[in-house]
Amino acid sequence: MGERTEKLIERFKLEFERVGGVFIMAKKDQILPILNQTLKVENAEKIFVEKFDEELSDILKQLDAKQIITQAHSEKQLAEVDASITGCDYLIAETGTIVFIHNEKRFKSSILLPRVHIVIAKSEQIYESLEHVFEKMDKKFDSIFLVTGPSRTADIEKVIVKGVHGPQMVYLILI
């Protein structure tokens, strides 16, 4: 890993943790135990897993969970899930933002409905700023969703409360 990438990761971690996200660096063989531990801590029994590449899919099949859904057929079903595990398209170091392109394989509601959201990303997906991501991206994109930390509000006496309509916890596992 280059020095530049390392710096970007460091910045991302700082910003992501500042908005209340949990950042975990992992090697491929560590993913399964980390995920199992996280699901246990969060008391998540019913989980949704997005479609990943074959290698990751095989790992995720071995997850310790009561129920694993890989093919969601309705948003109502996603609303009953405790945690979702998804990939992402880019990471923005400057703001700790996760970028999701809303495409054929991605449920936007799987990012918002469960109370816990776990994102698996790769270090080559990290960019310095949104400017860089926009430059890199195809201008004929479908919809995009930028997520910076958990769902939050300050509508009651300016007290910050997490998990209003979206997830209360967002984890990012960086391979």
């Binding site: 910003e15 500042r18 908005v19 969601a72 948003e75 109502k76 609303a79 703001t95 700790g96 933002t97 809303h102 495409n103 054929e104 394989k105 991605r106 449920f107 936007k108 509601s109 990012i111 918002l112 409905l113 700023s129 949104l130 400017e131 926009f134 201008k139 994109f141 479908d142 919809s143 995009i144 969703f145 930028l146 997520v147 910076t148 930390g149 958990p150 769902s151 939050r152 509000t153 300050a154 509508d155 009651i156 006496e157 300016k158 007290v159 409360v161 998990g163 209003v164 309509h165 979206g166 997830p167």
Partner: protein, 462 residues
């Protein structure tokens, strides 16, 4: 509520609010909190002023060429499958929404935060037509339950304390009383989750419309806008025509200034760039409508002076910074957009005759301009509007007489001196000027024994 909700009642509304110490305390706590956090996140950007200028320049470019960019936007959005509709006023916009709702026999709408929908009274209209319409932003939800109006454009329930909200939830939702914000939020989440999953239509506003890509951009923190624009079969977005910006890359500038100005955040939790309906995606509405609302905006465009008010990105910072807003609260203005920028928009959209008190509800200190992320010269426009009000004889005779006398005295040193002497003489023999409206809430200034001119002549000159 509707009859009293007019700018013409500004004075009595303001007086009532000033006397309500509890409300003022709630408001001031919230304002102070946001402003001090804002300083923190603004000062860490050394190029803040450059960013503001850049934001100003982009908004200027967009507004100066608004029809050009709207044309590009419409073409792009239509290509992407979004149905773009124009509405010249509130009535037209409301009917367009109702028509869509009736066509699919809609029973339930979920709404995310949209000041434009407040502007056209959409929720009330849909409810009158038998369509349940629920606000899903927590602050808006609280205000809807209370049967009130938002008191600030990004923090609608900032005038309410946690106890008041707890009592409201207990009364309206039949839950046990709690004043813990986390508990209250969880209650709202549970109640609204059901609505999201069963809604036929999702209604949203838009923070920006990107011409280059045809994107509808919505910025938020709670995730309710994301859900409102994803779960229901139909999404209707309503946006003022001024929301258009030329390029996708312009967003990077606005994201930096908007979050910091509105809620003192470096970046808001969620940003949706909506380009197209469902298509091959596993979720998303089957149809997306965008209603482009005029409602008096072309009237602003025609005026060289007022045009600048359309640069506004509706962050609400000028309200928090305004000493008048801080004292009288958002409801006193009697218009959907309160505070300094709201006074301009009300004068232009309602007509000066229906908004006369508002341009005068400013100390002209310029704090609104200083804090504005797109550098609108709000205080200058307010002075200009005052001028218009005087020209159109919207001020009282007494006020005119006072200013005529003042001008007469100030124009000539001799008359000025004589006037000052007269006042001192009156004071000596015990006659006090009676200006009740002014002195009711203020100390009348003491007239000095000797004027500065006299002191200078006799004691200081040598």
């Amino acid at each position: 509520m509707k009859e009293t909700y007019t700018p013409l009642r500004f004075k009595e509304n303001a007086l009532r609010f000033i006397q309500d110490e509890k409300r003022r305390a709630n408001l001031n706590r919230a304002i102070h909190h946001t402003l001090s956090k804002r300083i923190e996140v603004v000062s860490e950007l050394p190029d803040w002023e450059i960013l503001r200028q850049r934001a100003h320049d982009i908004r200027k470019e967009a507004i100066e060429n608004i029809w050009h960019y709207i044309e590009i936007f419409e073409k792009k959005a239509t290509e992407n499958g979004i149905k773009v509709i124009y509405a010249s006023d509130a009535i037209e916009a409301r009917n367009q929404v109702l028509e869509i709702a009736k066509r699919i026999n809609a029973k339930l709408c979920v709404k995310s935060k949209s000041m434009v929908s407040e502007e056209i009274g959409l929720r009330e209209f849909l409810e009158e037509n038998g369509i349940e319409t629920v606000e899903t932003d927590l602050g808006e939800f609280i205000v809807q339950l209370a049967g009130e109006k938002p008191s600030h454009i990004t923090a609608p329930a900032m005038h309410k304390s946690r106890d008041e909200i707890g009592k409201l939830f207990a009364e309206k939702l039949g839950v046990e009383f709690t004043s813990i914000p986390e508990e209250l939020t969880r209650i709202a989440r549970g109640f609204l989750r059901d609505k999201f999953l069963n809604a036929d239509i999702g209604i949203s506003g838009a923070n920006f419309l990107v011409a280059e890509t045809g994107s509808i951009v919505i910025v938020e923190n709670e995730g309710n806008a994301g859900l409102s624009t994803t779960l229901p079969k139909i999404h209707i977005a309503i946006a003022g025509i001024e929301k258009v910006i030329p390029r996708l890359s312009d967003l990077t500038v606005f994201f930096k200034v908007l979050g910091r100005s509105a809620t003192a955040q470096r970046f808001t939790s969620y940003v949706s760039l909506i380009n197209s309906p469902r298509g091959q995606k596993p979720d998303s509405p089957e149809e997306i409508y965008l209603i482009l609302l005029d409602n008096g905006r072309t009237h602003l465009l025609k005026s060289e002076k007022l045009k600048e008010a359309l640069y506004c990105i509706k962050c609400g910072a000028c309200m928090l910074a305004c000493p008048v807003y801080q004292t009288v609260g958002g409801h006193s203005y009697g218009w959907v957009y309160p505070g300094p920028i709201g006074s301009i928009l009300a004068s232009a959209q309602l007509g000066l005759e229906k908004a006369t008190p508002l341009p005068f509800a400013s100390s002209l200190c310029g704090k609104c301009h200083e804090i504005c992320p797109v550098k609108i010269e709000i205080h200058h426009i307010l002075v200009w509007l005052r001028h218009q009000a005087v020209e159109h004889k919207r001020t009282s005779r007494t006020e005119k007489l006072i200013f005529k006398l003042w001008l007469f005295a100030m124009k000539d040193a001799k008359i000025y001196k004589a006037g000052a002497k007269l006042l001192r003489f009156l004071k000596k023999i015990g006659i006090k000027p009676s200006l009740k409206a002014w002195s009711r809430t203020r100390e009348f200034p003491q007239i000095a024994e000797k004027s500065f001119r006299e002191i200078w002549e006799k004691e200081l000159k040598n």
